[in-house]
């Protein structure tokens, strides 16, 4: 909304502007209409539904208006808090391990080598595989009876575990799966960032006699700070969006030990059939994700930057 005056200002160098002022609106209309109806309208409807006690199988017309009761119930709902806590723990372990492994490996292996593109291709494969398939593969590997993990642990003397049937082990399993899927990605983008650093600065630091650790912590890492920060924020948002892998792997159980917030909303809505209450929890999720997204936006909307040039 900031450039309200731009439409009438003089910019003679761009002949496109001389066309009818309505043309841009015809161009954006289809996309904006689909996004309004398919993304914004559902968000608004989530707000709306959160005021009603609507259950699956009943007509919405019969659903009683409950005002803010869902939200009041939510504040004291242990299950909601538990799933938020699971999400936070999951985010903490996955993101810190993925960042640590991805960044360390990238620092060790950043030198351009022949055949790098082959490795890059391999490292993005886990992200191209359907989340459902990722969940199925790891459910097989973690399987208590025929799973490969139990077999190889058995070879080194560890008793077979019911990985997906124990709260702590199941949590470990979803963390492990996420690390397998995302560490290669962090590795690739950090390497891309490191290789794009201007060589003069790196040379200068070398001449100044910085040792290996100083070189990394005072020169390299600060220079790729923005990459690390955006990667961190995006992974954080992903943690709040994730549900498909866990849906297949554990379904959120045992108990609620692997039920991330998104999965909790889904299970609330379609397992316990409380559509209204699930919508109220959605509103909370929308708030969290919006705040995180504003963080990314604040770090620079690329579309805005590029057009300001």
């Amino acid at each position: 909304m900031g450039d309200a005056s731009a439409g009438t200002s003089v910019a003679a160098s761009k002949p496109i502007r001389d066309l009818s002022t309505l043309v841009p609106y015809f161009f954006i209309l289809p996309a904006v209409a689909i996004m309004l109806a398919g993304l914004l309208y559902p968000v608004i409807q989530a707000f709306y539904l959160s005021f009603y006690d609507w259950k699956i199988g009943t007509d919405f017309e019969d659903a009683p208006f409950v005002g803010l009761r869902h939200f009041i119930r939510m504040v004291g709902d242990e299950n909601v808090w538990e799933s938020i806590w699971v999400t936070i723990r999951f985010g903490f372990w996955t993101i810190s391990i993925e960042m640590f492994l991805g960044v360390s490996l990238a620092l060790l292996l950043e030198k351009p080598i022949r055949g790098a593109s082959v490795f890059r291709t391999i490292f993005i494969l886990p992200l191209m595989v359907s989340p459902v398939v990722v969940g199925l593969i790891w459910r097989y590997l973690f399987d208590a009876r025929v799973g490969w993990i139990n077999y190889y642990l058995g070879l080194i003397g560890i008793e077979p575990q019911v990985w997906l049937g124990d709260a702590d082990l199941a949590f470990f399993a979803i963390v492990f799966t996420d690390i397998w899927q995302w560490t290669p990605f962090i590795f690739i983008i950090v390497i891309a960032g490191l290789q794009a650093l201007p060589s003069e600065v790196l040379e200068a630091s070398k001449i100044d006699g910085a040792n290996w650790w100083q070189h990394i912590f005072f020169v390299k890492l600060p220079m790729i700070r923005s990459i690390l920060l955006i990667a961190l924020l995006m992974r954080l948002i992903d943690v709040f969006r994730a549900l498909e892998v866990m849906y297949i792997l554990t379904g959120g159980g045992p108990g609620r030990s692997t039920e991330l917030l998104s999965l909790h909303i889904y299970n609330r809505a379609f397992d316990t059939q409380q559509l209204g209450y699930a919508s109220a929890i959605s509103v909370l999720l929308i708030a969290i994700v919006t705040i995180l997204s504003l963080g990314i936006l604040k770090m620079g909307n690329p579309m805005k930057e590029k057009t300001d040039i």
Binding site: F60, R139, W213, L243, Y266
Partner: protein, 279 residues
Amino acid sequence: MAARQISNPPGIWGHYGALIVLALITLTPIWVMVATGFKDDVLVQQKEPVWFFFFPTLENYDYIMTRGKFDRYLWNSTIVGVSATFLTLLSGGLCAYALARMEFRGRVLVANSTLLVRMVPPAVLAVPAFAMVINFSLNNDLAVLIFFYTALNLPFAIWLLFGFYKQIPVELEEAAIVDGATPLQVFFRVLMPLMKSGYAVAGIFTFRIAWNEFILALLLTGRTTRTLPVGAAGFITDTGVEWGRIMAMGTLIVIPPLLFTFFAARQIIAGMTAGAVKG
């Protein structure tokens, strides 16, 4: 390790060795899936894993092709993937072009909100989408799925295409306009050929999401409209888990995304890192 100097990086063999180990860790689970899909039930149920040397069987593939309704799921997934990709590229391309090249009231608002709605969690869409299907009796209609996948993909596609439009010099359009071309002619005739790689990247991302998506598909499809991921998950429920069949199905599902990866890895990485690494 701490004493290592910058001028003395680890040997090239150590470098390759480390990368190969990482690549093997990455590939192992995918290989397990492919191998298991070709194993008979005895081998699958056997405790000791067999990595490479077994007599492959096609019985799992035979089952999912003939009795697993694979053809139906494949058809649905293809229709949904192709339609959502086409709609996303067309409407997203028009929008990205306007944002990149035209001045209009509300341009910044549209640009900012596009980035903001990119992060809407699929779980938030689930209940309203379900309500929409019930209210308008749209159950068993692939159009609903196509519509939501288009909406989910548009923000990222617009953002990606915007960057590609920005890289094209404006002189070409100016020349076309002087020759009397309308904005739509400029868009389709002048710029479309130059935007091939941009549309290819955006298309791969859109198709991948539409092809892989599970949770909305599970909710919004019925017996005749199930997509591949929903079909694969369906093998879990019955009497125990049919691992051989599941893995065969999984292998077939990942073929298109893997083909894209092999042919366009560079572009995919460019797209994935567009948010993190500024060009």
